[in-house]
Symmetry: C4
Subunit: 285 residues, 4 copies
């Protein structure tokens, strides 16, 4: 793996003429196979987690009063670290524009902006909200961890079954809208069913088995209908599970797909097949 | 696909003598493969969604007071659109009676009726309830989306496992009735267990893991029994999932089973296979 | 099927000397394949359902006041019907003792007893509770419906996985006891965590995702632990599902089990096997 | 099995020179195949369960007042039993240090300590908390039951899918943090969303479908977002299930793949097969 990266890097070097120190930075920041790259990833991961924890704790009013200076200091240390990282990311690329206007690039920029703005503007609340954008940096953690654990099978299974899950969600929405409308007619407004959207909200709470209890039917007919929704929701929770399960199962036996016919190039032969299913040519495994 | 439709249409033309403009309308309204047909489907879909959203928003009292004129206007635009669509659907068919008395035909008719009735009758509440029938037009969206995404496997899996799911639901009902009866005996009426139907309602809330909390056991024995119901419900939620999952898995590899080699009798060829995977003999389907 | 029953019946006739009318009754009551047997099953099913609904409605106090005479009449009609059925079940069998002391036999007897007792004893409440035993007759419905829909695969899948589900439930109990004990230490008594059993009850409510909300953590540490329990419960709900799913999947491909070796009697050969896996004898299918 | 143990024991005897009575104790305490060993396991299991039930009941204040002497007596009987067991465990081993400093060894020691400490120290509350450590002995039950039912497949399936479940949990955490932050901004503090950690706590309650209802959105926008979270959580509960299900399925058919026929190379023979199912050649395992 390391070899492949070095090859790619030297290839890139010739073509785009990045100076050696730029390549070194690139290897550390974007690479994940070298030791320095791995360490950088881990440090970045911890810093992002720390920055998110600080934003979260700052929102707790009594902690904010007590440790406001600690938060302020940590905030600036992290901001400076992120700023340096942002600059290094840009200068180590030949085409920095692609990164700057990518989703992660914009998130990276927006996560350092609020701290600098606070020097000029006054109004902590709106700035704190802005600082919440830093939360989106958590996606970098997600991507890293997914990468490290080599479990992209998860995303693939979800992607393969997106059509079926969409149909499933549309079906659920159809049901909750009709049932919500019915409950609005059946139940008195005092029970919380004050409008159809609110009744639909209640139907979603019920069919997904969340069940807050802030809105609950009080008439016998309403309770009977609610029972029906619950049992229905209980029985059809099987559907998305079945979709994804069968997807996982077929992805797991997916190493079968490797067999390729040397005559016509057809793939996807079963493990026990002796002849190509497309051209009848004998398979040499 | 497009070819097949044209063939069908010209065949129909000869037999039933529909004039060319009727065929044109039919192609747009009922067809889904031509560009005009697709566009019509999308416009219809948006209009239905819009009409449902309006009925929903009208039920929110403060919005109804504020925007009553906007709602009124949009209501009539949609009604006129649906009326034209309804008339076109009828005149473009040779046997319109089949459509008129079909489920969708009745829904289509009932969804335009209330607006016209409001011209003669006075009594907004009951009319608004009638207008809720328009919600059933959502099924057209459901059918379209299911069709477009080619995921009828969903309905098929549910249909194949309907027997097992029925038995499962009867089992659940048996359990909730017995447990509901028990809780009625155990718990005081003050805790909400005022009658057996109400106790059964509570048992359904609990076994499906919805858990509103409007009725909750207060005695130690009742709480112990409730714990048992919860753990039981938690363990058997696996059953419908297992049913549907195995159905999906077998549907995924299902159509394969039919093909049989006429030379060696080997079965289990994939749908796209042209030669027997065991002996290389050409498959005649 | 009908043939087999007739054969069995005539065989039984010779051996035990049941008179023809006894055999006729037996066929109607115990048989399910003849028309008379089926009709009897359906009438019995409806009567049991009706008797359960009456007991349920009687528990609703305002209905009981209003329709007490109707309930009384229906109660006695059903009691007489059940009494006749009970007597016929006994006299149509050669060894009635087996039936009388079986689970269903005792339930059948107990479900007619309370009505007769009410003639001599006074004290409606305790009698009504006794009458709830009639609820157990619902198991006859369950057995019938399971039989009619031919879905014994359900019970089999659960039976096969009972060991794993037991281990799973013991694991869950271990976790809720430890977490319940922890929450008792962490949370104040005012939040509802007044004793360890109550805390364990809360942990069960939480881990099974029921969530009544009658007891809920209020301290940050308690809420953090609760979050952990929820995520944990969410992740491991997969386990029983996985167990039962894989059981269903293997039961579905279970028709394989029919192949039997004509040499050694070994069963369980795969569909594609050509030789007995135990003795190497060629399989003739 | 019994043979193997005896062989192991006599082998150990030669090497480490344990006296015969030590070996006898070892067989009873650590063995599970001899009758004495099984009986000891069952007695230990019951005693642990009893000790846990006592600690639980002691925490119920009115029971503690009423039966304090009974609890005190049982407490000491169990403590003495556990003390003897602990001493026997140590003296019947050649290298007792390994056991003493193992997890179970420390738990065994800590579970007898509090009772003895109560002789010298005064302060019931803190001692009762210490006594809760006895709860951890429940793991011995868990291990035993798992062993007895031969269902280690459960732990294995979970272990195999730990990477995917970790990624899944990180994804969930990412989502609840972002959604919790959003809800903190949208909802007023009066609805319970007083800080981001609390909002995240609410998001976890919602996405796992627990739904206490102690915190619930009140604004239309918040309720819309909550609906989205619920439907999302409902759709993705399929993911861990799919992971574990496919793991179970492959574990079930897993050990089969190893056998290969030395004559025709056919694989996929069942564990109990003695002849190749394709050519009838004897399988040499």
């Amino acid at each position: 793996m390391k070899n492949r990266i070095h090859k790619t890097l030297s290839f890139r070097e010739k073509e785009f003429k990045l100076s050696p120190w730029q390549l070194k930075i690139q290897e550390v920041i974007y690479g994940t196979y070298t030791k320095a790259g791995k360490n950088f990833d881990i440090i970045l991961l911890i810093t992002i987690l720390l920055s998110i924890i600080i934003v979260m704790l700052e929102s707790v009013s009594y902690l904010n009063l007590k440790y406001s200076f600690t938060f302020f200091t940590l905030e600036w240390i992290i901001t400076i670290f992120f700023t340096i990282e942002y600059i290094l990311r840009i200068i180590s690329l030949r085409k920095p524009m692609t990164y700057i206007f990518s989703f992660m690039g914009i998130v990276d920029f927006l996560s350092i902006l609020p701290s600098y703005l606070s020097l000029f503007v006054d109004g902590t609340t709106s700035l704190m909200l802005l600082r919440s954008i830093r939360f989106l940096r958590i996606f970098r953690i997600l991507r890293l961890s997914r990468y490290m654990l080599g479990a992209d099978i998860l995303g693939e299974a979800l992607k393969n079954s997106r059509h079926k899950i969409t149909v499933f969600l549309i079906s659920i929405l159809t049901i909750v809208i009709i049932l919500g409308g019915l409950m609005y007619v059946i139940e008195p407004k005092e029970a919380g069913f004050t409008s159809i959207p609110r009744s639909v909200y209640w139907a979603i709470i019920t069919i997904t088995t969340v069940g807050y209890g802030d809105i609950a039917p009080v008439t016998p007919l309403g309770q009977a209908l609610a029972s029906f929704i619950m049992l229905f929701g209980y029985a059809i929770i099987a559907v998305p599970t079945g979709i994804v399960s069968s997807e996982f199962t077929s992805l797991k036996s997916g190493d079968v797909k490797e067999f390729e016919c040397h005559n016509c190039g057809e793939t996807g032969h079963e493990k026990t097949a002796q002849f190509c299913k497309s051209c009848g040519y004998e398979l040499k495994k």
